[in-house]
């Protein structure tokens, strides 16, 4: 599903956030990307999501070369992804419900069908009672869960999450992890960036450990 070969990302200004890393994430695999702050975790996820373009090397996502994929083919790929960014990027001019409904509306789903799916997603994230609220009034952790609900509501083939449990207390963090695992068990490829090694140390998934842009280890737990 994701194949990187000598992948380099250099930001304008010359900083090399990824210094030629190679790895392969199989279809249906669940993988963690760990490492200290500034190691390049977010950069890697943004490259996979097509939010940044590789500087050098190869990055294939679902067989598409992310260095050369034409702009207008990106939406097709994005519709099969669920993306959770560190900042949830919610829209504050509409309700929680409408925020979560957005990806479904984009693919042209009708309101009747949207309603059922959005409620199911909100239910999974324990937000059912908040659907009519404006996300502005929610806590940081709740906002993050709205962002996760929005990422999973479309039942994506590839789930990318950047520090999805950053604002959550430990119990909630574990439950969110369980949600990602549940998706993985029905075949969703999951790539999660986190610096919270205690949360994942007992989980049976492979880890890509980044250190200053280099891949230090790629180990199965």
């Amino acid at each position: 599903m994701i194949r990187a070969e000598r992948l380099v990302k250099r930001y304008p200004g010359g900083h090399e956030a990824l210094a030629g890393i190679s790895f392969h994430v199989e279809r249906g695999e669940m993988t963690f990307v760990t490492g200290h702050s500034g190691a390049g975790k977010s950069t890697l996820l943004r490259l996979v999501a097509g939010l940044e373009r590789p500087t050098r090397g190869t990055l294939l996502v679902d067989g598409k070369n992310m260095a050369t994929l034409p702009r207008r083919q990106l939406p097709r790929l994005r519709r099969r992804m669920g993306i959770v960014l560190q900042d949830p990027h919610l829209l504050y001019d509409r309700s929680v419900f409408d925020n979560v409904a957005l990806p479904l509306a984009i693919v042209g789903m009708r309101p009747r069908e949207i309603a059922g799916r959005v409620r199911a997603a909100l239910d999974k994230l324990g937000l059912l009672g908040k659907e009519h609220l404006n996300p502005r009034v929610l806590s940081g952790g709740e906002q993050q869960r709205v962002g996760i609900a929005r990422a999973v509501v479309g039942k994506p083939d590839l789930l990318l999450a950047d520090e999805p449990t950053g604002n959550l207390d430990p119990d909630l963090a574990r439950e969110i992890m369980d949600l990602f695992r549940a998706f993985n068990e029905v075949g969703t490829t999951v790539l999660i960036a986190t610096h919270d090694i205690y949360l994942i140390e007992h989980l049976p998934y492979r880890r890509l450990v980044l250190e200053r842009g280099a891949l230090r280890r790629s180990d199965a737990a």
């Binding site: 940044e52 960014l85 900042d87 957005l102 990806p103 324990g126 695992r181 068990e185 029905v186 049976p204």
Partner: protein
Amino acid sequence: MKLRLRERRKGASPGYQGPKRRREDREEHRHGARPERHGPIADHLYAHRLALAGGLRRMRRSPWATWLTILVVGIALALPTALDLAVDNLGRLADDWRRGADISLFLTPDSDDAAARTLAQRLRDDPEITTVRVITRDQALEELRARAGVGEALDLLGENPLPPVVVVTPAGSDPTHLATLRQRLAGLPGVDLAQMDTQWVERLQALLRLADRLATLLGLLTAVAVAVIVGNTLRLEGQSYAPELRVSRLLGASDADLRRPFLYGGILYGLGGALVAWGIVLLGLAWIAPAVERLASHYPQGLELHGPDLHALLLLGLAGPLLGLVTARVVIGHQIRELENP
């Protein structure tokens, strides 16, 4: 708080698919936002209906800017339409005046009234002439005395210096045709001068041709002005919707998806402006109609105010929305290309 997770299977290996999984579990997490099937045409229409609703919603959100834009676009579109209408009406009027225009044949100074009558008799059989009238030397003197107020000066002359005049009304109204007729009449024996009473009409018509050119120029300038007004409104709208555009693109919206509501917005501004322009022109016509009627009572052949024809109204109704659409495509297309990723 308890998350309601259906699956809690500790130790499941990556990608492991439980053989005893219940059916509804599989449904629950099934892949891909596969919407119910409606068919490509229905989906297409639905997307456009949604975009239209989105465009309207965005306009409603800032009603002042919306109405102001529509009003200004309407006024801008009304100006060339009104000028065109004025030129058209004056053109018709000038044609009427020219049609009624006579040619005066001044006979040589030594001619007497009998010569004029003989000439008139001959001209009555001319197929290019409808009526012939003779102004005798005495009548000419009377007219001049009455009109110019130079009675005393004329009395000093003692003898009547004026020749008789034969006034003919041409059958046709075609300008070149009239010109050849005038030349032919000027060449007749005994005719000193053949003068068409239409020189001022011709001057008016030349002026109207100029005004027509100006109307075209004004129309082009108006198109530019409308594009600037609508473009500016849409640019501000696009800026205030930047967060939504960025997030929507993150979630898989194509550039066309992002543009569509704004394109409808542009069309709606143009259409609204065209409707306002129609209103302005029709109200303006209604307002000047009584004055035209009063004027008409002074003209024997009558005077009729012509409103814009269907063709002009349709042209306006198409030009407005089309202009809005093109402007929106350029302005929003540019903004979306420049949009940064979240």
